[in-house]
Amino acid sequence: MTAQSQASLSKIFLAFARIGLLGFGGGPAMIPLVRDEVVTRHQWMDDDAFADVLAIANTLPGPIATKMPGYIGYRIGGFSGCAVAVAAVIVPMVLAMILLLGLFSRYREVEWIQGMGFAVIPVVMIMMGQLTLDFWNKSRLALGPWTSLVLGAGSGVLIYLLGIHPGWIIGALLATAMLAPEPRRKEVDQ
């Protein structure tokens, strides 16, 4: 019993460490990797169960790439399985971030190192612009351009001109979305 759960903990660790190290491009890009390990390689769950876990994870806020390993780890290895799976995904790269940026900050006074820091700002600007477009397009497709524009511009005024914390605005929207009556046009339910 103990030997078996020990073995599976190390298997859980290896599977999710691989996912963390290969998962370039953020959480959503990691979903196929999780499926590969969990469904195809180790057969810890079947495709239907995996699809359910994904659907449920999507109903909750927060990063998808920690909810899925956490839940799957719990299902196959209890609380320790959960902790091991989450740690395996996130800890190696958190350490890499701390080491690399720590090294960078230490030599910040050196002129050419400072130049390197300056040069990444326009790159990050493009990455953020790309995300902006991505979110705007998804929003336009789901809500239409006018509703999206009104929601975006309205919240922009509240956040940046009136200085209201974004948490209040998003919280209010979430509460309204949850409590307001459902739209009629989604007919065929159940």
């Binding site: 979110f135 809500l143 459902e182």
Partner: protein
């Protein structure tokens, strides 16, 4: 006290940030640069650049690094736990309930309604990085780096890690 602030700074973005990891980036910026002033826009940009160049989820990488920067190993732990634990506990605790509502139009509506707000905050942050670029490396360099990066990332689909490396080389040679 600092641990409590760190907890809040990462708990709030993650509990309202519908739409996956990237959605929480502008929310975290609002906390760590805007509200608490723990880092400058420049340092946030550096964290984000490295975060995009390395694998694994962006939200936890940023939490760990910023938490460590602010309050050492304990800070990193608090920030990462605030990012991971609340939604994971919800998922484990309310699985049946969530399963029943996974296709509910209300649940879909939640992420749909939040998205334009996040898009707006992302646009604001993009603009902030533009003016930060103007300030630190001037208009010409900002435009050169920005357009090459846009071409590489959007058109040629080159991996962000290589784009960040190329920018580092450019900056080390020309901006030092």
């Amino acid at each position: 006290m600092i641990y409590w602030e760190l907890f809040l700074a990462f708990f709030i973005p993650n509990i309202i940030g519908y739409g996956g990891g990237p959605a929480i980036i502008p929310l975290i910026e609002a906390e760590v640069v805007g509200r608490y002033g723990w880092m400058s826009a420049q340092e946030f940009a550096e964290t984000l650049a490295l975060g995009n160049a390395l694998p694994s989820p962006i939200a936890t990488k940023m939490a760990g690094q910023i938490g460590f920067d602010v309050a050492g190993a304990g800070g990193a732990l608090v920030a990462v736990l605030a990012t991971v634990v609340p939604s994971l506990l919800l998922m484990l605790g309310a699985l049946g309930l969530l399963y029943r509502y996974r296709d509910s139009p209300r649940v879909k509506r939640m992420s749909q309604w939040v998205r334009p707000v996040i898009a707006m905050m992302m646009a604001w942050l993009t603009w902030g990085f533009f003016s930060e670029g103007l300030e630190t490396s001037g208009l010409i360099h900002t435009l050169v780096i920005g357009s090459v990066a846009a071409l590489a990332l959007l058109r040629l689909r080159i991996h962000p890690a290589f784009v960040v490396l190329a920018a580092l080389a450019y900056g080390g040679l020309l901006l030092g």
